[in-house]
């Protein structure tokens, strides 16, 4: 018995020693002087990786960049794990919805000196994407992609139903009316909204334009109080819920649907007539429509500002090669470099007239950029988003009225702000 106690005590002592050794603060971002730069991009960049690596090395003799592609599922979680674990990339691409929280947690480096060094100006970038990366007087994220949503619709389905095509001046009532005419219960649906917990960003893409076009918003101007239970906020939630519960113009499975996994395939197979989509969905959709022999069209989302999506380059606070990361980011966001790829719409304004991005097909996205809005850049955004998605689901399933959901959202959000 005594032997066991001694053995356990020894193990515990060793473990505590180990714990205290590694509890000491990890080193913050450093410049190793290395000319090898590591970068994380989303997996959709796959086809462009060889040319980015080659062109960067050509333009910056002696430097090399190693790009690691990460799937969108758990992207932020993987990034945070790498940052706090001390093994982050030197440059990290982040979605606008992912940026405020890591800034608030001191996980990203300020990039003001880099902006000066490489002569980058805030006015060079799509402002809604740029502003998300600003906290106080410092900038923490430099936009490389702008991704406003536009309304993609199946002209062939509209023609069959004898419904007029959507226009830029459509109201929400016109959207609902067209969606009703296009819906055949159990077979096809007029409109698509996302509500799945597994992809909160998709829910925001669906919900934000409805909320904003009703005059509502998530927080007040100085981001100190939730405002979803204002009459305008409740009206937005009610419209969103009514699409599913009252008018049934969105698919039956909406409560567990995301845009990417569920609604886009429905749009591609002709069981959905209208869906707000982003830039990266355009080419696959057009290919699918061509294969079916269907006609398609795009326009601005009905009534209100669209949610400005986007991605920005950041430098993790535990990055090993800050100077190399800065060099890569400055090179990557140069208009001629960022517009030479055909994967995502550039977040740099002057890229509009360059490469394939000057094609008239993209005009609607550039216009949407100017009419877009982004979610509040509060460090608590991840939590706010979680609260909103869960209560929206409760309202959609009928366990809360829109008023109750709005009040509950506000009280929970106020508690964390």
């Amino acid at each position: 018995m005594l032997k066991r106690v001694v053995a356990l005590f020894t193990i515990a002592c060793m473990a505590i020693t180990l714990a205290s050794c590694s509890s000491s603060p990890k080193s913050s971002a450093t410049s190793s002087g290395s000319k090898n730069v590591t970068v994380w991009l989303g997996s959709w960049w796959k086809d462009q990786v060889p040319s980015i690596e080659k062109n960067f090395a050509q333009d910056n003799p002696g430097y090399t960049v190693k790009i690691q592609l990460e799937p969108i599922d758990n992207y932020l979680e993987n990034a945070v794990t790498a940052i706090v674990g001390g093994t982050p990339p030197d440059a990290l691409d982040l979605d606008t919805l992912m940026i405020p929280t890591p800034i608030g947690q001191n996980l990203l480096c300020p990039l003001d000196s880099m902006m000066q060094q490489y002569n980058l100006k805030a006015s060079d970038f799509v402002s809604q994407v740029y502003n998300v990366g600003v906290k106080g007087n410092s900038v923490y994220a430099i936009p490389d992609r702008a991704a406003p949503s536009v309304l993609f619709y199946n002209k062939t389905m509209f023609d069959k139903a004898g419904v007029a095509y959507p226009t830029d001046s459509w109201t929400k009532q016109q959207l609902l009316s067209a969606a009703q005419k296009l819906t055949i219960p159990g077979k096809q649906y007029g409109y698509g909204i996302a509500a799945s917990n597994s992809d909160p960003a998709n829910v925001m893409t669906s919900f934000c334009p409805i909320l904003w076009s009703s005059g509502g918003d998530f927080l007040n101007k100085d981001m100190t109080k939730a405002t979803l239970s204002t009459p305008q906020g409740i009206a937005g939630i009610k419209y969103y819920v009514d699409l599913f519960r009252t008018y049934k113009v969105v698919p039956d499975g909406t409560l567990n649907y995301s845009i990417t996994k569920d609604l886009l395939p429905m749009l591609e197979n002709g069981t959905l007539a209208m869906l707000p989509i982003g830039d990266s969905n355009m080419n696959p959709l057009i290919d699918a429509f061509k294969a079916h022999g269907w006609q398609w069209g795009t326009t601005l989302e009905a009534a209100g500002p669209t949610r400005e999506g986007g991605w920005s380059m950041t430098i993790p606070s535990t990055a090993k090669n800050v100077a190399g990361a800065e060099k890569f980011i400055a090179w990557f966001v140069k208009p001629n470099n960022i517009s030479s790829q055909n994967i995502v719409m550039p977040g740099v304004k002057s890229a509009k007239g360059q490469g394939l991005w000057k094609d008239p097909m993209w005009n609607v996205f550039w216009v949407a950029n100017d009419k877009s809005q982004d979610v509040p850049a509060t460090p608590k955004w991840s939590q706010v988003q979680n609260i909103v998605v869960i209560d929206l689901q409760k309202a959609l399933q009928g366990s809360m009225t829109p008023e109750q959901a709005a009040k509950d959202m506000d009280s929970q959000i106020d508690a964390i702000l």
């Binding site: 706090v84 159990g186 917990n197 991840s382 209560d391």
Partner: protein, 301 residues
């Protein structure tokens, strides 16, 4: 001289065990200690600097409105998946224990759900359960278009739908263990019982089940741990939705840590979960050792 030799032998033995002990400490005990430390502290990022706050994190987590629902869901999830896995595993094991032709091939086939990567299995079930274009509702529509079910989008069916998918991926392990146990039962026992007039049901209840008891106890322990720790199937199919109706503790721990960046709250919940898991196993250990001692005393008497 003799004691020197013993000491040398012991030193050799300890030096051989040392690398493994270090790995064990680093990989298993250190994370547990760190979780314990975080659960009693305020943690600030990115350096994980800690400030002792006593039991505040536990209090904060226990007062969260969703915690009671998460606890109930965790119990339902663990028990239901245990029962379904055992039911499917037992039926499959009994079937595969017969000497019908083709059983060997069927054994390999029956292992597929277990071999399949969980992300693949989750996506397969996501397609099967899809309300608008899923296979299950496709067949239901043939019977009556009004009987389709929103499997993953309805709070009353979401948790059980995922429980079934989760049980499907895990039942082959139960089957395999039971099958190994069944094949280890001496044929003489069953023959003797039959000669004494036992019917197949009696043979199963009085011979098969008692002989399988050690395997069953081990399986229950393993499946309970697997159930409580499970994450990926639920995360991929519902992520705890709709409206938190299918959230269990493992998902809540993940959400606190990686969505809310609340590593203290996440650690406090983890510690409580470890304690909850540990209690039945310690209780089982104590009861079984008391029983063994009692049996030894009886035999001695």
């Amino acid at each position: 001289m003799k004691s020197k030799k013993i000491l040398q032998e012991r030193l050799t033995a300890y030096s051989l065990v040392l690398p493994c002990t270090i790995v064990l400490l680093v990989m298993m005990i250190y994370p547990i200690i760190q979780v314990l430390q975080f659960s009693f502290s305020n943690v600030s990022l990115p350096d994980f600097q800690t400030q002792f706050v006593g039991l505040k994190n536990f209090e904060r987590v226990l007062l969260k409105p969703e915690i009671a629902k998460d606890a109930a869901n965790t119990v339902i999830w663990t028990i239901a998946s245990l029962i379904i896995r055992f039911a499917l595993g037992t039926v499959a094991a009994l079937l595969l224990d017969t000497s019908i032709k083709g059983m060997k091939a069927l054994r390999v086939f029956a292992m597929l759900p277990w071999i399949m990567p969980s992300i693949v299995a989750a996506n397969v079930w996501r397609w099967l359960y899809s309300t608008d274009f899923g296979v299950i509702n496709y067949f239901l529509r043939f019977i009556d278009p009004n009987i389709t079910i929103n499997w993953l989008g309805n709070p009353s069916s979401a948790l059980f739908s995922v429980v079934f998918a989760f049980s499907w991926t895990g039942f082959p392990f139960v089957m395999l263990m039971l099958l190994a146990g069944l094949q280890g039962i001496p044929v003489d026992y069953k023959e003797a019982a039959r000669i004494d007039g036992a019917n197949p049901f009696n043979v199963f209840v009085h011979i098969t089940v008692p002989c399988l008891k050690p395997v069953i106890v081990t399986l229950i322990a393993l499946q309970l741990i697997d159930g409580i720790n499970s994450f990926d199937m639920l995360f991929n199919l519902t992520a705890g939705g709709p409206g938190g109706s299918s959230e269990i503790f493992s998902l809540a721990i993940y959400r606190y840590a990686f969505s809310n960046f609340d590593f203290s709250g996440s650690s406090a919940l983890s510690v409580m979960l470890i304690i909850v898991i540990a209690i039945p196993f310690f209780a089982y250990e104590i009861i079984s050792s008391l029983r063994q001692r009692k049996n030894r005393l009886k035999e001695g008497a």
